[in-house]
């Protein structure tokens, strides 16, 4: 029982269909209080749908979830008074100014007129939006939009904040600002559940990561644990002659007993290796078979490789499809 009270989110077999689409297909979560929890998954994985259920905006078809011990359907209002949501898309009124948006929400939350105004000014200063305070939000840049979105979510600092893809389509500078905001929020005691399609972001921010694909969690743990689950390291090899690749692939597969990944570059291939001492054997094996190697590297697997191993496709598969 004690263990339960320390959990910010706890869910059991959450399911949500949209017509024939199983958007969320049995999600089990145990998100600890404090820190950042990351949902990592490609477009359409079910991240937003899961968050919308946890934020009481969508009723699950089946399964249960508790947020700080409150059941999300029966005790929706209790949940709402502890959490806040920054949606993937516009979550403030684009026709109103920055100040008006914050005052509007502060008033709805119960602040008096003067308190609401004071709080709005305080947040606009903290989020570096004073100059834009009197402008309609639709005139804001992407980074400013995201900051006002987040400011609007923390008028009353929530115990749990859902951030749905907070940095998608942001330039690196604005992305860093958002990351700083997230880190500051966490030091002030807010638990953050963040979704992202970007492995680097999850790696940078999240204490724990759930890898989501097709509405299911395919792996869960710290980024270190996830990487370790794939093997202690990855060997990348670049051959002189691309024609040798099938031969090299066969040789590696035979020796390592693990799948070998072919890179998009026709001269490259890589493999996960659990026994680092075997790397040298492998390389001499290749030279014995007259397969010249131009370069090789051996290191910790990237989260992208983790994703590939776990799901059988790249985390950014959708984007690649669009590019081809």
């Amino acid at each position: 029982m004690k263990r339960h009270s320390a959990l910010a989110i706890e869910s059991h077999e959450l399911v949500k269909h949209f017509g024939k689409v199983r958007a969320v297909d049995g999600i089990n979560l145990a998100v600890p209080t404090g820190g950042v929890y990351g949902f990592l998954g490609p477009n359409g994985a079910g991240k937003t749908t899961t968050i919308r259920m946890l934020a009481t905006l969508l009723r699950p078809d089946s399964g249960t979830a508790r947020v700080f011990g409150h059941e999300i359907v029966r005790e929706a209002n209790a949940v709402r008074s502890r959490v806040s949501l920054t949606g993937q898309f516009a979550s403030v009124d684009e026709d109103l100014t920055g100040t008006e948006n914050l005052v509007l929400l502060a008033r709805l939350l119960g602040y008096s007129r003067s308190q609401a105004r004071a709080r709005a000014i305080e947040l606009l200063e903290a989020f570096d939006l004073v100059d834009a305070a009197r402008r309609q939000v639709k005139t804001y840049s992407g980074g400013m939009r995201r900051r006002i979105d987040i400011a609007a979510s923390i008028i009353v600092t929530p115990d749990l904040l859902f951030l749905d893809e907070p940095t998608s389509e942001l330039d690196p500078y604005s992305r860093n600002q958002v990351w700083d905001i997230v880190r500051t929020l966490v030091t002030e005691g807010t638990t953050v559940l963040l979704t992202t399609q970007h492995l680097e972001e999850a790696d940078q921010l999240a204490d724990r990561i759930a890898v989501i694909d097709h509405g299911r969690i395919v792996a869960e743990g710290t980024s270190g644990e996830l990487k370790a689950s794939v093997g202690s390291g990855t060997l990348h090899i670049r051959l002189r002659n691309p024609d040798h690749r099938p031969q090299a692939e066969q040789l590696l597969t035979l020796n390592l007993g693990v799948p070998v990944f072919l890179k998009s570059d026709p001269a490259e291939l890589s493999a996960h290796i659990s026994e680092p001492e075997r790397v040298t054997d492998l390389l001499s094996e290749l030279s014995r078979s007259d397969i010249p190697v131009i370069s090789f590297s051996f290191g910790q697997p990237s989260l992208d490789e983790v994703f590939l191993t776990l799901t059988g496709h790249h985390a950014t598969a959708d984007e690649n499809k669009g590019a081809v």
């Binding site: 934020a55 806040s84 026709d95 008006e100 008033r107 305080e122 903290a126 570096d128 700083d180």
Partner: protein, 274 residues
């Protein structure tokens, strides 16, 4: 790093307010949403263009183009057609209630409001209150323009005020229909199309432009059961000081019916959205 300094500046102190103010009451939450509607009018004055331009156009067009042919003189036709155009104008504006809610849902801010610990129907009530302001502005435009053109209601100011009040009650009730549709329809365009299909026959197959005695019997029968006909008759009566107690009764009954059917339906759809 530069961004680090930004984060440190005021962020930490701005994040130390974990204490919640007391929950806003249903009334104040509704009034705050009404305030939002007013801000929208302030920021998007173009929206008011529809509200004012179409009645001006209709009034000028029908009076001067068809007035002579339909009633013998433009002045006389104005007295007849103005109450009808008033009703038609405001009836069409009621669609905007549904459109506003539909676009809030599409854009995502609806989610923000629904994730707040507030009295949930306040969002709808506030929108309805805001639209009442729109209806009033449109009514004022029609009446003032009419007065300039030579509209002379026998019922005087009191008659006109009462008729506008009746019209507001009717529009408020009719709005529920569009809100319900606004929650169901996928796009503002489809909502617009459906409401036009409903409203066009409703306003044209009525006594707005011509007296139904000139119509074929079957059409006259149809006009006679149209609630818009009762409303127009009631408003003409109030403006020209004739007895229309029966028609007012029918209008209020229609309003009661609309609200009892569509407000629970809307609330059901609103809750089901989650």
């Amino acid at each position: 790093m530069e961004t680090q300094a930004f984060a440190e500046k005021g962020l930490r102190s701005a994040l130390s307010t974990h204490t919640r103010p007391p929950r806003s009451s249903p009334l104040s939450a509704s009034l705050i949403f009404w305030w939002r509607a007013m801000l929208k009018i302030k920021h998007i004055p173009e929206q008011m263009f529809d509200v004012t331009a179409s009645p001006i156009m209709f009034l000028l067009m029908f009076t001067y183009l068809f007035g002579g042919a339909l009633a013998g003189s433009t002045g006389e036709y104005l007295q007849f057609v103005l109450p009808g155009i008033l009703v038609m104008t405001v009836a069409f504006i009621t669609i905007y209630t549904g459109l506003g809610i539909n676009s809030d849902i599409k854009k995502g801010i609806f989610d923000r409001f629904r994730s707040l610990p507030i009295w949930q129907p306040a969002f709808l009530v506030g929108a309805l209150l805001g639209d009442t302001v729109r209806y009033t502005i449109a009514s004022v435009v029609v009446v003032v323009l009419g007065l300039i053109m030579g509209f002379r209601p026998d019922g005087g100011a009191v008659g006109v005020l009462l008729s506008v009040l009746l019209l507001l009650v009717f529009s408020f009730s009719l709005s529920w229909v569009w809100i319900a549709l606004g929650l169901v329809m996928r796009t503002p365009e489809s909502l617009m199309a459906v409401s036009m299909i409903i409203l066009f026959p409703l306003t044209f197959v009525s006594n707005v432009f011509v007296s139904p005695e000139t119509m074929p019997v079957w059409l006259e029968a149809l006009v006679d059961v149209n609630p818009i006909t009762y409303l127009v008759t009631a408003i003409r009566g109030l403006m020209f000081d004739t007895t229309v107690a029966k028609e007012i009764g029918w209008v209020l009954l229609t309003c009661a019916l609309l609200v009892t059917v569509f407000s629970p339906l809307t609330m059901y759809l609103y809750r089901k959205k989650r």
